[in-house]
């Protein structure tokens, strides 16, 4: 609390030491509450997983942080400032199913779209953008597919294109919505390695994740969500079977196995 500046919510800077600071956020979606009074802190330089059962509001949380869905109450600060003023420091990887992959465009072109925010109105992407985009495709390991039409990419390759698009945004904070859903094992490993790379460079990653079994292996920070925050903090402290059980509540029987496996994970590593 003492870190908090005295200028109040209208002030320019609020918890500047945190990459993401969410305060009392409530979101109702089509008349139904999706998130209740979320208080959330993510320090810079971590790789944070958001987990929770279906309908827990994981995607909604990211979307409301990015002002894609309206908030009923609460504040969100990124690096101490409202989203609008730090847009350029933030990158977003939506769910793969969010777009029509039959769209007539190439992988390289999609990646270059990540630069549009920096370009501004009327300016065309040029050689510089091209170079950056190629480098990003190189990083995600599909540079040879740059000219390929996007419908001819596999699911995993499409996901890599999306990640590459976020890379060229050259942000400090990355939001990824289920980047590992429905991709092959190779892609999953490649994406994880890439995210770890970004973290090593001091970037912050917030990832909606669905696979409870890999949480311990991939992430160092966890937010367990079910309409409200059940637990948050470093994985070794907050990712406990007890917390999972609280999050998955009514589906306790379903979660027993996961809880046990999560514990196994501890002893196994």
């Amino acid at each position: 609390m003492n870190e908090r500046t005295a200028t109040g919510p209208q002030g320019p800077v609020h918890e500047p030491g945190l990459a993401l600071h969410v305060e009392d956020l409530t979101v109702s979606y089509q008349g139904r509450p999706a998130l209740w009074d979320i208080d959330l802190d993510v320090p810079p330089g971590v790789m944070a997983a958001i987990v929770g059962p279906n309908g827990a509001g994981k995607s909604t949380l990211i979307k409301s942080v990015l002002e894609l869905v309206p908030r009923t109450a609460g504040h969100v600060y990124l690096f101490g400032q409202p989203y609008r003023t730090v847009r350029r420091r933030v990158a977003y990887v939506p769910q793969r199913s969010a777009v029509d992959w039959d769209f007539p465009t190439t992988a390289l072109d999609v990646v270059m779209m990540g630069r549009y925010g920096h370009l501004g109105w009327l300016r065309r992407p040029g050689a510089g953008e091209r170079r950056r985009a190629m480098a990003a495709l190189e990083e995600v390991g599909i540079a040879e597919l740059a000219g390929r039409q996007i419908s001819q990419l596999s699911g995993g390759q499409q996901q890599r294109v999306f990640v590459a698009r976020a890379l060229v945004q050259e942000a400090d904070l990355y939001f990824l919505d289920e980047p590992m859903a429905g991709v092959d094992a190779t892609t999953e490993r490649a994406i994880v390695r890439l995210l770890e790379d970004l973290r090593a460079r001091g970037k912050t990653l917030v990832v909606v994740h669905h696979d409870l079994q890999t949480v311990r292996r991939y992430f160092d920070w966890i937010v367990i969500l079910n309409v409200r925050v059940i637990a948050q903090g470093p994985v070794e402290r907050a990712y406990t079977p007890e917390n999972l059980r609280r999050a998955y509540g009514g589906q306790i029987s379903l979660i027993e196995g996961f809880g046990a496996r999560a514990t196994d994970g501890v002893s196994g590593e």
Partner: protein
């Protein structure tokens, strides 16, 4: 009796009522299946069917014409599904590719062969319900307007179809997979429905033309859909709304001396606008009102949850006070006041100076909201 049948005004209105009833009986199933634009496609492409049937059989009215031309309507849908089925274009684009092509062929055939016949491009689009009483047939010793006979027949057939297959149609519209599992053949049923839509379009063609027919199929049922949740009321309400539109449209058309069919169709739009704006449950006014109330309600719940979350912690001094509604929840002073008033009204919150405290009801509410799985299950 013959006097009634010779009264042009009555015959025009009766024909209009039959067009409206026959169309509105079928429209709800298209709208609920999100296939409303098939009515658009069918009504355009039956022009091709009407011309083809006329070229082959010489029929410009009657069952042969209706059934024959209606096949083109079904053909439109088959072709649309075929084109969309290739996966090369999306379904809506497929509709927009197929019917203009068929319609174009129909118009060109008219250009070439039908210069002297009464079906010209003008009637194709606009129809002329004002003249239906001129063209009569002998029926049980009476001279009856041809259009009325065939529209009446279509209305009867449609009513019988909907009544006989009510539960099948209902299920096939709502859940085609389950309907298929029960052996109701939803696809056969759907094509039968489209065949009747096409037949109705053909029969209605002389009276209102190809495009105004769309208004009768889609608009009254859509208005009824904005007023009710029950299928039976949507169907009957659609018929009623089309009757109101027909009567008022005729009156206004006579008063202003304008196109009768056009005015009837315009009135369906007026009815829809009324339902859209003032419908008791789904109307815009009611909706805005409800949304405003719901917003305050949701905000009151947000406050309750907020208080519950911070009740036990050390931050209570900072969070659970009236001022926090502004500084933490981000509400304007005015909004905060409204929410607080609502929360106190609902007996969720007690105010003690600056401090806000949950009442017993408020705590129960918060618990129910935070742990929905506990609700009901005990």
């Amino acid at each position: 009796m013959q006097a009634i049948l010779d009264n042009p005004a009555l015959m025009i209105v009766a024909t209009g009522l039959m067009v409206g009833a026959a169309s509105a009986l079928l429209g709800p199933f298209l709208i609920l299946r999100r296939n409303a634009m098939l009515a658009d496609a069918i009504s355009h492409s039956i022009v091709f069917g009407i011309v083809t049937v006329w070229l082959i059989t010489g029929a410009v009215a009657g069952p042969v014409q209706i059934a024959g031309a209606a096949l083109t309507g079904v053909l439109t849908v088959v072709l649309t599904e075929l084109v969309a089925g290739t996966g090369r274009v999306k379904h809506d684009a497929a509709i927009g590719l197929v019917f203009p092509a068929l319609f174009s062929m129909g118009v060109l055939l008219l250009n070439v062969y039908a210069r002297e016949v009464h079906i010209d491009a003008h009637t194709v689009l606009l129809g002329e319900i004002g003249f239906v009483w001129l063209d009569t047939v002998e029926l049980a010793g009476y001279r009856v307007p041809q259009a009325l006979v065939w529209m009446g027949a279509m209305a009867a057939v449609n009513a019988a179809f909907v009544a006989l297959f009510w539960k099948e149609l209902k299920l096939a519209t709502f859940d085609p997979v389950l309907a298929a599992a029960f052996g109701f053949r939803p696809r056969v049923l759907f094509y039968a429905l489209l065949f009747l839509v096409s037949g109705t379009a053909v029969a209605a063609f002389d009276a209102v033309g190809a495009i105004l027919f769309i208004a009768f199929v889609i608009v009254p049922p859509a208005a009824a859909y904005l007023l009710s949740d029950r299928l039976v009321w949507i169907v009957l309400g659609g018929v009623a709304i089309s009757a109101v539109s027909t009567l008022s449209g005729y009156g206004l058309a006579v008063a202003w001396d304008v196109s009768i069919g056009g005015m009837m169709a315009s009135m369906t739009g007026v009815c829809l606008a009324a339902a859209f704006l003032f419908g008791p449950r789904y109307g815009l006014v009611a909706g805005l009102h409800r949304r405003a109330r719901q917003a305050v309600e949701n905000e009151a719940r947000a406050l309750v949850v907020h208080l519950a979350t911070h009740e036990a912690g050390a931050e209570r001094q900072e969070e659970n006070v009236a001022a926090a509604m502004h500084t933490h929840l981000g509400w304007s002073a005015e909004r905060a006041r409204a929410v607080l008033a609502r929360s106190i009204d609902r007996d969720f919150v007690r105010r003690d100076g600056e401090a806000l405290e949950l009442t017993e009801t408020g705590r129960e509410e918060a618990e129910a909201l935070l742990q929905p799985w506990r609700r009901g299950g005990g």
